[in-house]
Amino acid sequence: MPSPADRRYTKEHEWVRVQDDLGTVGITDYAQDQLGDIVYVDLPSPGTQVKQLEKLGEIESVKAVSDLYSPVSGEVMEVNPEIMDRPELVNQAPYDEGWLVRVRLAAPAELDNLLTAKQYDELIAQAQET
C-alpha cells in the first residue's frame, strides 16, 4: 500500500503531517512492521525544543530498541496521551491513533528537506530488494 500522500517522510522512517504551523509526527507502517510489537516509547516532554533529524526519543519493541528522529525543528507541544498505556497503537495505526508528538514548526521551509510519499515508497522498495 502506498504511504499517505498528505505528509512528508524521513529516510529514518518518521512522518510529519502539517496543519497550519503544527506538525504531527509518527513512524511509518514499514517501520512498525520491521520493529515488531512495540512495548514502550520514550518521548520528550512538552516544551522541549527539538531539531530536524536529531534524536527525538526512543522506541522499544520486544525485539530491539531504536532511536526516533524528529522530521522538523521546533517545540514539542503535545505527546500522544494514549501512547504510554497503549504503545501497541503504533503497530495498529501508525498513521492515525499511533501518532507520537505534535511539534510547533520553527522553520516550515525545512519540509523541503523531507521525502514525499512517492520518494519514500521508492526508498522502501529499494530496501526490500536488497
Binding site: 515488531g36 512495548v39 514502550y40 520514550d42 522499544e60 520486544v62 525485539k63
Partner: protein, 370 residues
Amino acid sequence: MSSDQPPPLRRTALYTQHVALGGRMIPFVGWEMPVQYKGIVEEHHAVRQRVGLFDVSHMGRLEVTGPDAATFLRSLVAYDIAGLAVGEGHYTVVCQEDGGILDDVYVFRLANERFLMVVNSANVDKIGDWIQQHFHSSLRATMEDRQMETAMLALQGPEAIQEMARVAPTVAEGLPGRHCTEAPLAGVTAFFSRTGYTGEDGFEIILPSAAGIDLWRHFMSRGIQPCGLGARDSLRLEVALALYGNDIDTTTNPFEAGLGWVVSLDDGADFIGREALLRIHEAGVRRHLTCLKALERGVMRAHYPVLRSGRRVSELTSGGFSPTLGVSIGMAYLPPELVAVGTQLEVDVRGKPLPAQVVQRPFYRRPKAT
C-alpha cells in the same frame, strides 16, 4: 569477494513451511530460523493461554548406544543419568574440569543401553568434539548424530495435551512430565517427550524429516499458532530458564546459576568437573543468578549494567519485555548481600537509571492443573 565468507546458513526440513506462513527468517547460530510469524507477543500469549508450535530442529540430537553408554555419558554430565529409568529424562549440564558450563543438555534414557542427548545448536560441534576427545577405544559405545535425518517440533501450552491426544492418544495419556517414549506415528517411529522450554505443559517430538513436515502441516490445519525464536526467548525468560551463551557459559558454574539440582555429587560416580564442583559446593558461591523486575516503564536488555545506589554491581545476562507481566524483566549475577527479594537496584538503560527490584525466581509459574 572475500574468500573467508561465513558458510551458508543451514535450513531445517520445515524451512519452506516457515516461509509460506510468513515467518520472518533470521540467521541464528548458523541456521536460518523464523524469529516470528504474526508477532512475538501474540505467539507468546498463544503458548501461555492455548497452544503453540515451534520448529526446534536446529537443536543437536546425539544418540549414544552400547553396554557402556550409561557409564560413558555419566562421566560427561553432572547429573546421575545412569540412575535414570528407561523412559525417564533429566536436564543437566556438561562441565569442563573447572566446573564451568560447556553446555546445558537434556538426557533421555530410551532403553537400558541407549540414550538421547539434546544439546544447544550453538554447541553441537563443541560437544561432539568434547565427546570424541573423552572417548576411548575400550568403551563399548557409539555415538550417532540424528540431526540431519530428523525434524524436531515442540508443541507447548495448556492445550498441547488435547492436540497430542488427536495424533498419538497413548502418548498423550501415558507420558508423565520429563518422561519420553518411542511410538508409531503415521507409519514411522517417533520420539516423544513431555518437556519444553516455555514453562507450560507440552511435548517435544523427533521424527524423520518428511513425517515431521506432515505433522507440522497437521498442527497448522488445526489452527495452532506457529511460534518463532522471539516467543521462545520471552517464554523461557519468564520462567527463568537459563539461555546458554547469555546466562550460563564456561565462566559460570551450575551452583551460582541456580542449577544445583542438576548436579549429583554423591552417587559415587566420577564426572568431568566433579572435583571443582565439590569444592565450589563446600565453599559456597559468591554470586547468584537473580531475577530482576523493572518498577517503571522501559525495557532492560542483556548486558545493561546493574547499579546499586549509582554504583555498578553487575550486568544483565538476559533481559526483555514480559508479555505476561506487562513489564520488563531480566536476570543478573549478584553478590549474596543483594539477592534478597525486594532489594532495590537500578538498571542503566542507555544512560538512564531504571528502578528495578529483586523478585522470586521464576517470574511466572503456570497455574497448577486441577
